[in-house]
């Protein structure tokens, strides 16, 4: 049996020919994401907003509207009640209460009292205003610092054009993934932030593989025009890029389907991020090298040798 080749061996897609189109598509996605981020905003979970979350299991299907009436009348502000993965599983979320940490505690006690004895509390989380803003800050710094470190590493290993192009592609992926969260309204919490950072790591990983090949071909094919060389590099690594994305997606789809409700948002972010990361390393990062005027750096002596040969 001949092994399956996802991508035919003689693949030769002229990616660079479509680069203007890719720029436009990417620019639209990035701008739209940014605009949505600043207008609609992320649906922050209690990790960052502060607030209360209670997951309960009821005997038999839950009476959501009854719960809504019951908890809504407690005077605790907005109460969000939704089914959570199963008809007898309910997620209750309360906005941050006015006042200090004690007020949050009191609200949690009020809710658990109001729920009574007939439900099982599967999970309860309370994040006070102080911790909420700290987590937000730490989350922001972790994104910035990992981007910086990755950029430094790429800078160290490649020429500056590669570093800039990979970081632009990386930011592109992060911004669009965030935009995805704004559009879908999927809650953004600590776990999804971790997913975004993982997407960053994955995206750069994909880009690096293509860049490695470009660097190699720059040395190997000295006469080839840069755009052709980029196309050749992308096409040579295309099989690997799709294979790895595909196996990762296979694992993630299993996680998304069977991993339980609690990490669904997290997995969704990863799935989306990997798709967008694959797109960007092929269609954004490499073409950007032309914009950045990537040139061959050939030492004089070597060139002399070539002439002699």
């Amino acid at each position: 049996m001949k092994p399956l080749h996802l991508i035919p061996d003689d693949v030769n897609v002229p990616f660079l020919k479509f680069r203007k189109l890719f720029y436009i598509v990417s620019l639209v996605m990035v701008l739209a994401s940014a605009a949505l981020f600043f207008t609609k905003g992320l649906n922050f979970g209690i990790d960052f907003r502060g607030g209360i979350l209670v997951e309960i299991k009821t005997d038999g299907p839950a009476d959501i509207s009854g719960l809504r009436d019951n908890l809504g009348s407690l005077g605790l502000g907005d109460v969000s009640i939704q089914e959570f993965g199963a008809p007898d599983d309910v997620l209750i979320q309360l906005q941050r209460q006015d006042g200090d940490e004690k007020a949050q505690m009191a609200a949690l006690a009020t809710v658990t009292d109001a729920l009574g004895e007939n439900v099982t509390i599967r999970r309860s989380e309370l994040v006070g205003p102080k911790v909420g803003s700290e987590l937000k800050e730490a989350g922001f710094y972790s994104v910035v610092i990992s981007l910086l470190l990755i950029m430094v590493y790429i800078w160290f290993r490649f020429e500056w054009q590669f570093a800039v192009a990979s970081v632009v592609a990386l930011l592109h992926d992060v911004v669009i993934t965030v935009g995805f969260f704004v559009i879908t309204g999927v809650q953004f919490d600590l776990a999804t932030l971790a997913a975004v950072l993982t997407v960053a790591g994955y995206s750069i990983n994909d880009t690096v593989v293509v860049f490695d090949r470009i660097r190699e071909y720059l040395r190997k094919f000295r006469k080839m025009e840069i755009p052709d060389l980029l196309d050749l590099s992308i096409n040579s690594t295309l099989s690997r890029t799709t294979m790895t994305s595909f196996t990762t997606l296979l694992a993630l789809i299993a996680l998304f389907t069977f991993g339980g409700e609690a990490i669904r948002g997290f997995t969704l972010a990863l799935i989306f991020g990997i798709v967008i990361g694959t797109y960007s390393s092929i269609c954004v990062a490499s073409p950007l090298l032309i914009v950045l005027r990537l040139k061959r750096k050939i030492p004089e002596a070597e060139e002399g040798q070539e002439v002699k040969a």
Partner: protein, 524 residues
């Protein structure tokens, strides 16, 4: 490249064998291995609270109140010294930022400064006009705070131990925070109730000249204060406030034991003083028959019984409108002692045992299915070599489990996700190598040459690609909290072990195959 020296091959196999041995306890009933020495196999992976169920609480000790109290005491000391020298002065309310004393006679100002300076070591003086501002220097302040936190840790530990759960973890975090983790706790509200209270108990005499209401109308007699009645006290009888003497007659520090018990069929709390406290209690109750004795807990009067007769044995009971649970909690708090400063619960995350178990099961199913998908796909894509990559992938999972068991790293729900993600990404190194081999074959190289070149040229790419992901994982580890740390740990370990298994192990297998078969043709 394809030639393995004997010792190199042995080393690769040894690492795999160690991985299997150290991972094994996780698949056997606990206790199947003896676990005396920490480096021997036998330890299982540490499950995070989100998987085993339990409560995580982040507490903050109000260090400002510690400082405020100390500055109040410092101001008192200085004022006593000033009084001895007959320097007229007026205190200002002490804050956490220092003690302020206003000197009313300007001619004594320099002398007053000297007195203030020598009152206590490690203080700094400043101030403007006729006011002296005294603060502790940084070293003394840090020492004060450290001591308060150490005491708080001790009290919290005693309180949590009373709950009788196994392996609670209580640790300081940062300057003034404490993290409490109690696995397997069914009811977090109980933990909340016992951690949220300072439990400072003092006995004061009730003022017998006026009632609290009179005092509000006509002014407080000197040396008295008004305190509210606690929920579980005489509120039912219509008394909302008490006028009591400021002076503490016996302090809760003198308590040595406290137990919940019953009196006239109602839950009450009994207590016992140490010798000094017992003597003082006997003395006070002898001299003040007929007066009320207020039992003040955290600034609220929980009970104010009339002293009918001297209580000499050093034992007593607190009656109030307690439920059985409240009596239990109060006696627990009194036994464990008071916190040196109030604490606030900043964050709480509790997971019931049922949800934890469900998460583990869901995670297992997802991991197994993800593995099956990837394994099947690798074989379909790369045939024999795919099979080798799959064996390496399994080994990689075993190594992740082994490393986590040895390091006693904590596995969380996002951590399981990290492992599943590793399954998808671990084969990347092999994909890189195999694709490279395909290319080399297309370029007309022989089988052995292609394999050799494939491994060699994929190497730097594998390193670059993995290091960037590792950077993201390390940053996540240092910034993340709890569950997210768990994700970063499994991701980082998975990346490192995958480099070993995907590069060395597959190469060993392929080298073995090449040696046995001497293939002239490779279908890849």
């Amino acid at each position: 490249m394809l030639y393995f020296t004997k010792w190199k091959a042995a080393l690769v196999l040894l690492v795999c064998a160690l991985g299997v041995i150290y991972a094994a306890p996780n698949f056997l009933p606990s206790g199947a291995f003896p676990t005396e020495a920490s480096y021997l196999p036998g330890k299982q992976i540490n499950l995070g609270l989100d998987l085993r169920g339990g409560s995580h609480m982040l507490l903050e000790v109000d260090t400002d109140s510690v400082l405020r109290e100390r500055y109040e005491a410092l101001a008192d000391t200085i004022r006593t010294d000033l009084r001895k020298e007959q320097i007229r002065n007026r205190p200002r309310e002490a804050t956490a930022n220092g003690a302020d004393i206003t000197i009313l006679s300007p001619e004594d100002f320099e002398k007053a400064r000297e007195i203030a300076r020598s009152a206590e070591p490690n203080t700094d003086l400043s101030g403007e006009g006729n006011t002296i501002h005294v603060t502790y220097n940084a070293v003394a302040r840090k020492e004060l705070i450290d001591r308060a936190i150490a005491q708080s840790l001790e009290v919290v530990r005693r309180r949590v131990d009373e709950l009788g759960t196994t392996e609670p973890s209580i640790q300081r975090q940062g300057e003034n925070r404490i993290v409490v983790q109690v696995p397997g706790l069914d009811d977090p509200s109980r933990l909340r109730a016992i951690l949220g209270r300072t439990a400072k108990m003092n006995f004061h005499l009730v003022n017998n000249e006026k009632t609290a209401a009179d005092a509000r109308a006509t002014g407080l007699p000197p040396g008295t204060m008004i305190l509210p009645a606690a929920d579980a006290s005489d509120k039912a009888a219509g008394i909302k406030e008490f006028l009591i003497d400021r002076r503490v007659v016996v302090s809760g520090d003198n308590l040595v034991d406290s137990q919940p018990t019953f009196s006239d069929g109602r839950p009450v709390v009994s207590f016992r003083f140490d010798a000094a406290g017992g003597a003082r209690f006997g003395d006070i109750t002898s001299k003040n028959a007929g007066r009320g004795l207020a039992i003040v807990l955290d600034g609220e009067v929980i009970s104010a019984p009339r002293i009918n007769e001297p209580i000499l044995g050093g034992n007593g009971i607190i009656t109030g409108q307690f439920s059985v649970q409240e009596a239990n909690d109060l006696s627990l708090l009194l036994r464990a002692g008071a916190l040196p400063a109030p604490m606030q619960i900043l964050e709480e995350r509790s997971v019931g045992p049922g949800l934890g178990q469900d998460s583990v099961e869901a995670g297992e199913i997802a991991a197994v299915l993800g593995l099956v998908f990837v394994v099947a796909f690798m074989v379909i894509s790369y045939g024999r070599f795919g099979l080798y990559a799959d064996i390496a992938l399994m080994m990689n999972l075993i190594l992740v489990v082994a490393v986590m068991s040895v390091l006693q790293a904590t596995l969380t729900l996002p951590g399981i996700a990290g492992i599943v993600l590793t399954v998808g990404m671990a084969v990347d190194a092999n994909v890189l190598i195999f694709e490279r081999i395909r290319e080399e074959q297309r370029n007309g190289r022989t089988v052995i040459n292609s394999i050799d070149a494939g491994y060699r040229s994929a190497m730097s790419t594998i390193l670059d690609a993995n290091i960037t992901t590792l950077i993201a994982a390390l940053v996540l580890f240092s910034f993340g909290s709890g569950p997210i740390k768990g994700f970063a740990v499994t991701l980082a370990i998975g990346i490192i072990t995958s480099m070993f298994s995907a590069i060395w192990l597959t190469r060993l297998m392929i080298a073995g195959w090449v040696k046995r078969r001497r293939p002239t043709e490779l279908v890849l």
